[in-house]
Chain length 185, copies 2
């Protein structure tokens, strides 16, 4: 049983990190509270300030200083006990210059050096073979019909997607049990 874990929005708290930078760097501008974020890409909800948004998320240190999604690291530590094959499957920004290395460093800091070898960095996740992927993107496209089943990591911004199973780091054990991903003996 192989499980791919997306990074931004699933393990690393991209949305909270962005909002914190935005409010600090542009205190005079309106902001979208986390619960009201309803587009997958942040720029689409800041249509008049796309370049300012892009400047924040592609700046040196942005990815490196993201906080873990609450509960994610603890859940992954427990998941390791279930002997799933776990990989992190993450896509870089188009402006890749800072995020690529910072994602590696982040994984080493929060999950340890062993986990660096479990990073799969790819724009196209459909070519990676696995049984499941946990990802906050409503629809994952690429060149291939995916081998994995997509479980949505539940966030306000992806709730328009109504058909796929949902998970978060509070209910993960129940969801994984119900999908047959783990078994309690």
């Amino acid at each position: 049983m192989r499980l791919l874990l997306d990074m931004d929005g699933v393990i690393a708290d991209f949305e909270a990190g962005f909002l914190s930078h935005w409010r600090r760097e542009h205190p005079e501008k309106p902001f979208i509270p986390l619960e009201e974020r309803n587009t997958f890409f942040i720029v689409d909800q800041y249509p008049d300030d796309k370049d300012l948004v892009r400047a924040i998320i592609s700046a040196p240190g942005f990815f490196r200083t993201l906080e873990p999604i609450p509960g994610s690291i603890e859940a992954i530590r427990q998941l390791e006990e279930f002997h799933l094959e776990l990989f992190i499957c993450t896509s870089p920004l188009t402006n890749y210059r800072n995020c690529v290395l910072e994602k590696y460093e982040w994984v080493e800091e929060y999950l340890g050096a062993d986990w660096v070898g479990r990073i799969i960095m790819t724009d196209d996740k459909t070519v990676v073979r696995a049984d499941f992927i946990i990802d906050d993107k409503p629809e994952i496209k690429g060149v291939e019909k995916p081998s994995w089943k997509h479980i949505i990591y539940d966030l306000p911004k992806n709730r328009s997607e109504k058909t796929k199973p949902r998970i978060d780091w509070r209910n993960w054990k129940e969801v994984m049990l119900s999908l047959g991903m783990i078994r309690i003996e």
Copy 2:
């Protein structure tokens, strides 16, 4: 038809790059000529100087300044005309700090921004679904029975492997025709 291209030793001239640094930085030490390189990992052929070897290949700029393998870029440009699905599938060094970003920058410089989106960076290539991989490593191991057929990119260091088909950027068209990877209409 999806083809994965390994990067070091197949597109980027890792061996020539190392040798040039080695001779410049350690002119007093013996060196292994390219034709006599017979271990997959360089350190194994410099057993008394492993740390010096590692210092070179993990230094800032090492990957960024590698030359393309002669003929590789031209061959890839021709390969694009055959409408194969092409991806670059490359593993970072364990000491990933410099190579990760530099590999992305290298691909952008030599193949263009479009190709950055075709990079799959992973320690485990067996989980990537494809029809073929061209890789200079004699045996590619990982968690999965690979879906791809392995074609060895011919280098002196991998000639002890006798069973797999071999290719280089001089004979690639003949080899690919004979394996049914391309067709001339």
